[in-house]
Structures are given as structure tokens and as C-alpha cells.
Amino acid sequence: MTLTPGFADPVPDAQSCFRALLEAMARPGRVQRIKALPEAPVPLAPAAAAALLTLADAETPVWTDGGPAAEAWLRFHAGCPLVAGPGDAAFLLAVGGMPALASLEAGTEEEPHRSATLILQVAALEQGEGWHLSGPGIEHVHRLRVEGLPPGFLAEWSANAARFPRGADLLLCAGTRLAALPRTTRIEEAG
């Protein structure tokens, strides 16, 4: 199996991807486009692969359902250990379906930051339509339409929010685009 390359210029590429991630997390529902992308193997979305290259390393156990090519690529370029159980991961990269949010590490009341970040590949992301988002990072309301989420997603999300400050955080990726839902974001369906 031949490995495709990671970031072309790792230091500035990771920096610009991190700024997009920080902006995404600070302004939930605003869609960011990742500019410097690695050549991620199928089935990884370039934005999802870039996020993991930016954040994961030997200290962060990663879970993925992306298959052998994705696993080999992550092991080589990020140097991260891969784990079999979603509950054991600091980062999860889900391409085939969403692991149950309740099964992810949520941290403790004293250390809620020791919680998982789920990078979820979805079919499409569009801001300005769809859900109404509110919470920290949002002046009045942000709107976000996400295609490709499981039917029970909103119920799982409100259960995740109910255990604040514990909880998982979510990065939604579609192609080269990405939006974040930190645990503080409240979602209302478009009426």
C-alpha cells in the first residue's frame, strides 16, 4: 500500500488549519474552508484529515472507521495510536456513521476538558439556512444545514448538552469545509 502525502508544508499548514478550527469552535455553525489540505486517502474528507493532522499525535488515541488505508495514513503522518473502542479515543474520525455520543469520553465534573472530539464526515454543510444555533460564540443566531446526520441526532445532542460541563465536542466535515458544534451550542430545528 502506498501512502499519500500529509501536509505539503507542515508548520504553516497546521497553523492555518488550527486557526480555521479555532474560528469554527469560537463561532459555532460558521462554515470554514480549509485552504492547505493533505492528500487524504479515500474515504477521508480532506478537511477531516487536515483537522486530525493538526491535532492528533502520539499522546492522543484515535478511533476511526475509515478502514486500513486511512489507519495507515494516520499512523504514519500523525503518529497517533489507534484504538478499537470509541470510548477510549481523544479524537474520533467517523466516515460511515456516527458513534453514539453517549459512548464517548465526556470528561469529569472536575476535568471536563478530558473529553472526546468527534470529527464526523457529513454529506453537506451550508450556513445561513437550516437549524437555528445559539449559545457562546453566537451574537443572535447562526443557521446551519447539515445533510447526512442520523435521525436521532438532535435528541443525542441535547442529552450531550444536558451533562455540561461534561460532554463531547463535534467537528462536522464535508469535503474541504468544516463547522464546529461545541457542547455549549443549542440547536433548534427550523420551524
Binding site: 469560537a26 465534573e109 472536575e110
Partner: protein
């Protein structure tokens, strides 16, 4: 300043990644202190290592950096931090609040309102707002977990009983997002209202304690108070002697060797911008 310049690769990529992970969790849990396990920083504490570590993990070649120390761009500390990042990150620097994408600060928030697209990085000497009241770290962690801030309310109440008002003029404790008690760093209480629902992202770095915390944009930041003793930001009752501002935070400076004093804006960019507008209008 060689103390800042000797280590060209100030933070390695592993350290940056660790700090970046901590920053994202800090934004996700507004006001909660996230520890980061960085090795020793190649700088003496007191130089703003925490703020520098955060800035170094965030900054990129397209940023424009402003650094202030007590409101001034021209102190030794501010100048050397600015030069350091110009050299190691190749970024442009500025003294203009409106032109900056990242502002690293010690002890002030600029008078000019910050906007989306800007990041304010605070240098924090002591991140734990309860440390004077409860020195045991395990206890303060438990209090934050339970949102049990009775100790702080008692302290403020005792202040009011003794002095008739809360006797805290710097580092006045705030509640973030209605949940976490947070130290705003030693900014004057006058600056506290600027933190509330600020459009810019606010990041806090404590180097010695190795903690990071954050206030996302448009997040409620409330200075602790009581219904019958509402929080009141204090300002010297005088206009700035240089620009005439009655809104800005003032420093009292000695102007001659006979004890003459005057009040001037602590924010040097705000003050000089006002003065140049006044000259242009004359």
C-alpha cells in the same frame, strides 16, 4: 532583548499541538481552566510566558500583532515581545488597535472596541480566582466542579460590610457564561464590562501555572456583585490631560520634580489617535 531572542524555535510543533488542543477545549468550556503539560519555557516567568505560548500557538504569517503592557505599546516588555514575533513568525506588528488581528496584553483591555476577526491574548500571572481564599488546588477544583462559589461571595460581602463597597480595583472576579468563576487577570475593574459579549475571541495563558482558559465571542461575563451593591467600574474623576477623554482609564503620572501630577490615558494608541484627530480638525 536577548532573553526573548535566544531560542529561535521558541515552541516546537509537539508543544504547539498540545496548547492548540487545550485552546479548543477551553473555548468549548467557557471560563474553565485547562491545564497544559508543556515543558519548561525558555523564559523567566513574569515575562508573560503564558501569553507568549498562546500567541505562538495561534499566530501565522498573515497576522498583524499588537502587544501592550499596562495599555502602552512602548514599554520594554511590549517592544521585545513584538520584536520577538516579528523575527520568529515573520509577522507584521502594529500599535494600532484597529489594525491588529492578535493583541497580546498585560493588565489592560484596549479602549477601542474590539471586533470579530480579532483575538485578545491575556498574560495571566495567577489563573485561579479563588487562590487567596482557598490555597488547596484540589479544593478549588472541587468548587469549580460544583460551581460552589460561596467563599467568593462571602469575601465580597465582608468587603461591603467593612468598606461600604467591594474593595477590589484589579483582577475583579467574573462569572463566565453563568457558570465558571474566572480571573480576568490583573486588569482594572474598569475594564471588566468590556469582556461582556465582546465580539473578539479572548484567550488567557498562565505560564507558571500552565493553564489556559477562554471566553468565546458574545459570551456573558458578569462581574460578581449584589443586588443592593451593584458592580461599579471606577475611574479617576478627571479628563485626560493630553486628549481630554472622559471615558478612558487614566494613569496618574508625575510630571516634574516638585510633585506635580496629571492624569493621562493608560491606552497610548487610543490617546494618540484622539490627539491626531484633534490636530487634524484644527
Amino acid at each position: 532583548m536577548t532573553a526573548l531572542g535566544y531560542n529561535f524555535g521558541y515552541l516546537d510543533e509537539n508543544t504547539k499541538r498540545m496548547i492548540r488542543r487545550a485552546l479548543l477545549k477551553a473555548v468549548a468550556i467557557p471560563g474553565h481552566q485547562v491545564p497544559f503539560g508543556a515543558r519548561e519555557m525558555p523564559l523567566p516567568y513574569g515575562w508573560g510566558t503564558g501569553g507568549i505560548a498562546v500567541t505562538a500557538s495561534v499566530i501565522g504569517a498573515s497576522d498583524r500583532l499588537k502587544v501592550i503592557d499596562q495599555g502602552a505599546d512602548d514599554t520594554t516588555n511590549a517592544v521585545s515581545i513584538r520584536r520577538f514575533f516579528a523575527r520568529v513568525a515573520g509577522v507584521e506588528t502594529t500599535e494600532r488597535t484597529t489594525d491588529a488581528t492578535i493583541i497580546q496584553t498585560r493588565h489592560r483591555i484596549p479602549e477601542t472596541p474590539l471586533r470579530e476577526g480579532q483575538i485578545l491574548v491575556y498574560q495571566v500571572p495567577m489563573p485561579e480566582p479563588l487562590f487567596r481564599l482557598e490555597p488547596r488546588v484540589a479544593e478549588t477544583k472541587r468548587m469549580h466542579a460544583l460551581a460552589d462559589y460561596g467563599l467568593m461571595h462571602v469575601k465580597l460581602y465582608e468587603d461591603i460590610a467593612r468598606h461600604g463597597h467591594v474593595a477590589i480595583s484589579y483582577n475583579y472576579p467574573v462569572l463566565v457564561g453563568g457558570r465558571y468563576l474566572m480571573s480576568p487577570s490583573p486588569i482594572p475593574a474598569f475594564d471588566n464590562p468590556k469582556m461582556d459579549r465582546m465580539p473578539a475571541l479572548q484567550l488567557f495563558g498562565a505560564g507558571r501555572e500552565k493553564r489556559i482558559y477562554a471566553v468565546p465571542p458574545y459570551t456573558a461575563v458578569r462581574s460578581l456583585d449584589f443586588e443592593d451593591h451593584p458592580f461599579q467600574p471606577v475611574r479617576a474623576d478627571a479628563p485626560c490631560a493630553l486628549c481630554g477623554s472622559r471615558e478612558s482609564y487614566l494613569d496618574e503620572v508625575v510630571v516634574d520634580d516638585r510633585g506635580g501630577r496629571m492624569f493621562v490615558c493608560s491606552d497610548t494608541d487610543y490617546c494618540s489617535t484622539r490627539q491626531s484627530h484633534q490636530e487634524a480638525a484644527e
